[in-house]
């Protein structure tokens, strides 16, 4: 359909982007990157900021890992990927400090921690080290945006219930917000219940994911 040497077609390429948004959502399905998710999702602004920063890093890392995938020897691939990822995280951190100091201050130490976000290293190891450039770009965008909307959802719940606000705007003063919602228990509860609900409403998700994975590895 798109004529890239006949090997790729438009629908399959679009699938690489869309899968990160829902079917293989990094937070709710693959369940990666929970550490920053738990820590940062105390308010929607932080969630959006972290999601976009992580998407930028994912994009950069997927692109360059895919570009050097045939040059990097397998035995030293992890240090190479880490250096590439850390470079993009530092770029993101420096630009955030320079042009968005409020957000940088809000996210604090969790921006540098994007280096060890399992989504980033995970996609490098599982996907972009084996796939061509365009697919890697789409994968990064899909995974990044999937991570971002998951963060927004979790942060919205925690901020609303734990602080009575959304994006800093006071929504309700009629209840005293339970503090634990913006602490660790709130994070774990919110994410756990959300995964349970999403699993329940998409019937037999584990079996579906497993059979998709099997189909892919048999290709």
């Amino acid at each position: 359909m798109w004529g890239f040497g006949g090997r790729c077609n438009g629908v399959r390429l679009l699938g690489e982007f869309v899968k990160g948004l829902w079917r293989e959502n990094p937070t709710f399905r693959i369940v990666l990157g929970l550490c920053p998710t738990l820590a940062v999702s105390t308010c929607v602004a932080n969630g959006i900021g972290m999601g976009l920063a992580a998407t930028f890093v994912l994009l950069g890392s997927n692109i360059f890992v895919s570009l050097v995938r045939n040059i990097v020897p397998e035995k030293v691939r992890i240090p190479c990927y880490i250096v590439i990822i850390a470079t993009f995280v530092t770029i993101a951190d420096l630009f955030m400090k320079a042009y968005s100091p409020l957000l940088s201050r809000a996210l604090g130490m969790f921006v540098p921690l994007i280096v060890v976000n399992c989504i980033v290293l995970g996609r490098a190891e599982v996907f972009s080290s084996k796939e061509p450039l365009l697919k890697s770009i789409l994968d990064a965008l899909g995974m990044g945006l999937g991570f971002t909307w998951a963060l927004i959802l979790i942060s919205a719940i925690r901020e609303l219930l734990g602080n009575g606000t959304i994006l800093g705007f006071s929504i309700s003063r009629s209840f005293e917000p339970p503090l634990f919602m913006i602490l660790a228990p709130g994070a774990l509860l919110t994410i756990g219940i959300l995964i349970g609900i999403l699993n329940y409403f998409t019937m037999n998700p584990v079996r579906k994911l497993f059979s998709n994975g099997m189909k892919r590895s048999l290709k």
Binding site: P101, R105, M109
Partner: protein
């Protein structure tokens, strides 16, 4: 065979690290002026917020303590002392405004890495407020007297951040006042 392999590992790793270093050096160089400017802007805003009646701030230092002399015309309005506390997350950079008699005019936080929702409440203002409720407690109190549980209320669930700020303000400003009077 093995030497060739190791050489290849080294070269690939080396080239990647070299490229990364170059890219980061350039990025750092590009962003440094803007980052420094942001810090100075933050500080400037803080100075004006603490001592609004002053029209000039002169940057000085005494015995390693950086401060600003706030003047209105020729009259000394007060001092703004740079104070850094060891918070829960990392450093908390503040500016403390004091009148020459040692009474705190106000405390402004420039930079902090405290836990969002908890320690970060030391710098959280409700819409319409100039300063966080925690920091407003310092206004009007003599610098050497501020102490958590005595005349400063800590933030629930953020004792370390609260104490760090209070202790740093008390100790640094008292030290500054004793040095600047000389």
């Amino acid at each position: 065979m093995k030497m060739n392999q190791m050489a290849r590992f080294g070269i690939v790793l080396g080239v990647i690290c070299l490229t990364a270093t170059l890219v980061l050096a350039v990025t750092y160089h590009i962003t440094k002026p803007k980052i420094d400017e942001q810090m100075r802007l933050e500080e400037r805003k803080a100075l004006e917020a603490i001592l609004p009646e002053a029209d000039t701030f002169t940057e000085k230092s005494v015995d390693g303590i950086g401060y600003f002399e706030a003047l209105k015309g020729d009259r000394l309005v007060g001092y703004c002392v740079r104070v850094t506390a060891n918070g829960y997350g990392s450093f908390i950079r503040m500016v403390v405004g004091v009148k020459p008699d040692g009474v705190i005019e106000g405390v402004e936080i420039i930079e902090n890495q405290e836990t969002p929702g908890l320690g970060a409440k030391i710098d959280e203002q409700k819409p319409g407020e100039k300063r966080s409720r925690f920091l407003r407690q310092f206004e009007g109190k003599p610098a050497q007297s501020v102490e958590v549980k005595k005349n400063i209320d800590a933030i629930t669930g953020a004792t370390i951040s609260s104490k760090a700020v209070t202790d740093a303000v008390r100790e640094k400003v008292t030290e500054f006042l004793s040095k600047v009077k000389r």
